[in-house]
Amino acid sequence: MELLTYAAVGVAVLLGVAWYLSYNAARLDRLHTRAEGALSALDAQLVRRAEATLELANSGAVDPATALMLAGAASDSLEAHNERALEDDLLEGQSFGAREGLESDLTAALQAALTPDVVAEIRAEDAAGAAALQRVEGAGVRVQLARRFHNDAVTDVRRVRRKAVVRLFRLAGHADLPRTVEFDDELPPAVRD
C-alpha cells in the first residue's frame, strides 16, 4: 500500500515537472517566433525606406547634390541587405551585421536633406516628389515601430532565457541569443508635421 502511494506521488511529481518544462519550452518558442517575426518586419521596412529614398532622389524634386547624397546612403543600405539575401537564412544568428551604421547614415542623410524649407517646397510644387516623400515617411514610421517591437521581443526572450529552468534543461536548444538592434531612426521633424 505504502509503495503504491509513493509510486503515485512520484508519477504525479514527474508529470508536474514534465508539464512545467513543456510549458516553458512552448513559451520560449513563442518568444523566439515573435523576435524573428519582428526582425524580418524590420528588415522589410528598411528596404522599403531605402527604396522610397531612392525614388525621392530620382524624382527630380531635390537638387542634384542632395539627390546624390540620398541615393548614396540609400544604395549602401540596399546593398547591405542584398548581400545578406544570398545567405540561406536571412535572420541567421539574429544579428544585424554592420547594417546598424549604414541605417544610421541613411537617417542622418534624410535629416540633413529634408529641412523644413525643402519639405514645404516639395509638398507644394512636385507631385511625384510629394508622393515619394510620403512613402519615405510611411516607411520611416514603420521602421521605428518595427525596431521598437523587435527590441521589446528581444528583451522578453533574454529575460526568459536567464531563468534557471531554461538554462538547466537547455530549453532554448541551439537557438542563438537574439540581440537588440540599435541605430538612429528618428525622422526629420518637418516630414512628420
Partner: protein
C-alpha cells in the same frame, strides 16, 4: 484586414476607452476592413452590429474608480469562441492589465497581438502580486501602444520594454460642425460653463469647480454650470454651496450629439480633474467644438494643450486659481476667441484620419512578421490543430539540430 478589438469596459456607460474603441472600429469599417469588437454590455443595451456582447459586467472598484468588469470561466469560454469565429489577422486588446476580458483574450490569443495602454496608473500592488502569472500572457503582445507619454512611462516602469505613443483620436468634424443649442448658450451677463464626467467621482474634479464657483458668481451672478455625466444628483447638490447648487444644471448622461452641441454652445469648458488622467480626450473634443478650455495642470493636460499654450491652466486642486482663470477667460471675449482658434488648430493633430493611420501602421508591422514565420522553418502552419506543445517542443529541438 480582419481586426478583432477587445474593450474591457462595459458599453452600458460612456467612457474614454469605450469611445476610442468604437471610433477606431468605425474608422476601419469605413475603410473597408473587417472589424469586430468584443465588450461587456447589458442585454438591453443597444449595440452597433459590429459589437458583440460578452455579457453583463460586474461593478468592481479598480484603479481608483468603479469599473464594470467581467471574469470567470463562462466569460473565458465566450471570449474563446469569439476569437475562434473571428479568425482575426490582428487582435487589438485595450487595457490588457485589467481583471477582465482583455486579460482573458490575451490568455487565449494565438496570433499577432497589439495592446493599447490607456491608463497612467496601473495598480502596482495588484500587478506585483499577480506578475508571475501575467507575464507569459503579456509576452504575447507583439506591439505595445501607449496613448500618452504618461501611459508610456507607466508601461516602461511596470512591464519593462517600451511602447509607441499614438494619441487617442477624435472625430474633429463631428464636434466642429455641431450646431449650438440656444438653451446652453451664455450671454454676457450669464455665461455658461460645461463640466463632463461622473459627478460622484472626486478625481473628475466637480468639487474643485464647485469650490471655485462662489468667486465666479460674485462677478457674474447669472453664470451657469452645465454638468453632463452620470451619478447621484441629489448627493452632489448637497455637497455644494446652496448658491452654487442653484446655478448648476445637471443634464445627466448625454448622447454624443448633445455632448457636441453642449461643447459648441458654452463659453468655456472646465476640466478640473485632480489625477488619474493619462490623456484627456474631452479636452480635444472641446477644442474641436471651439470651446475655450480651462484645465488643471496635470501633465497629460499640459501635453494635450501643447505645453499649455492652447488653453487656460490652473494649479491642480486649487479652487482659488481656477476661479482666477475662469474670471480671466469669462471677462475677455478676445481671449476666448484666441483660445478657441488655437484649440481648433491643435485638435487636428488628434483627428482619427491621422491617428488611425498610425494604428494601421502598427497592425501592418506586427502582421508582416507573423505571416513570415508562420510558414517558416518546417513549412508547418502554426495554426495546425495537431500542433501541440509537444510537437512544438520537438520541432524546437529539431530546428536546433539543423543549424
Amino acid at each position: 484586414m480582419r481586426i478583432g478589438i477587445v474593450c474591457p469596459y462595459s458599453f452600458d456607460v460612456p467612457g474614454g476607452v469605450q469611445f476610442h474603441v468604437r471610433d477606431l472600429a468605425e474608422h476601419f469599417l469605413a475603410q473597408g476592413h473587417h472589424a469586430s469588437v468584443l465588450a461587456p454590455a447589458d442585454d438591453d443595451t443597444p449595440l452597433p452590429d459590429y459589437v458583440e456582447s460578452v455579457g453583463r459586467a460586474v461593478p468592481v472598484r479598480y484603479n481608483g474608480s468603479v469599473a464594470r468588469l467581467n471574469f470567470g470561466p463562462v466569460t473565458a469560454a465566450r471570449v474563446g469562441r469569439w476569437l475562434e469565429r473571428g479568425e482575426f489577422d490582428v487582435l487589438h486588446i485595450h487595457e490588457p492589465v485589467t481583471p477582465s476580458i482583455a486579460l482573458l483574450a490575451l490568455w487565449s490569443a494565438d496570433g499577432p497581438v497589439v495592446a493599447t495602454f490607456h491608463t497612467s496608473n496601473l495598480r502596482s500592488r495588484a500587478m506585483q502580486a499577480a506578475y508571475p502569472l501575467l507575464r507569459p500572457s503579456l509576452e504575447k503582445i507583439s506591439g505595445r501602444i501607449a496613448v500618452s507619454e504618461d501611459a508610456r512611462r507607466t508601461v516602461t516602469t511596470h512591464l519593462g520594454g517600451d511602447a509607441v505613443v499614438i494619441p487617442n483620436g477624435v472625430n474633429v468634424a463631428r464636434f466642429a460642425e455641431a450646431a449650438p443649442e440656444p438653451a446652453w448658450q451664455g450671454t454676457t451677463d450669464a455665461p455658461t460653463l460645461a463640466f463632463l464626467g461622473r459627478i460622484d467621482e472626486p478625481r473628475k474634479g466637480l468639487p474643485v469647480l464647485a469650490a471655485a464657483m462662489p468667486a465666479v458668481l460674485a462677478r457674474h451672478p447669472g453664470a451657469r454650470v452645465l454638468v453632463a455625466g452620470p451619478g447621484d444628483v441629489e448627493a452632489a447638490r448637497e455637497r455644494m454651496d446652496p448658491a452654487v447648487a442653484s446655478a448648476t444644471e445637471f443634464l445627466g448622461m448625454v448622447s454624443d450629439e448633445e455632448k457636441a452641441a453642449l461643447l459648441s454652445s458654452v463659453d468655456a469648458y472646465v476640466a478640473p480633474h485632480t489625477g488619474g488622467e493619462s490623456f484627456g480626450i474631452v479636452l480635444v473634443e472641446a477644442m474641436s467644438a471651439g470651446a475655450p478650455v480651462v484645465a488643471s495642470d496635470l501633465a497629460a493636460f499640459v501635453r494635450v494643450l501643447d505645453g499649455g499654450r492652447c488653453g487656460a491652466m490652473f494649479t491642480n486642486e486649487d479652487p482659488g486659481d481656477l476661479s482666477r482663470q475662469l474670471l480671466r477667460v469669462l471677462g475677455d471675449p478676445g481671449e476666448r476667441e484666441r483660445l478657441a482658434a488655437l484649440g481648433s488648430k491643435r485638435a487636428m493633430v488628434f483627428d482619427w484620419s491621422v491617428v488611425a493611420e498610425d494604428v494601421m501602421a502598427v497592425y501592418e508591422t506586427v502582421t508582416h512578421g507573423m505571416d513570415d514565420v508562420r510558414t517558416d522553418h518546417t513549412g508547418h502552419l502554426r495554426a495546425d490543430p495537431t500542433d501541440t506543445r509537444w510537437t512544438r517542443l520537438l520541432r524546437g529541438a529539431r530546428r536546433g539540430g539543423e543549424d
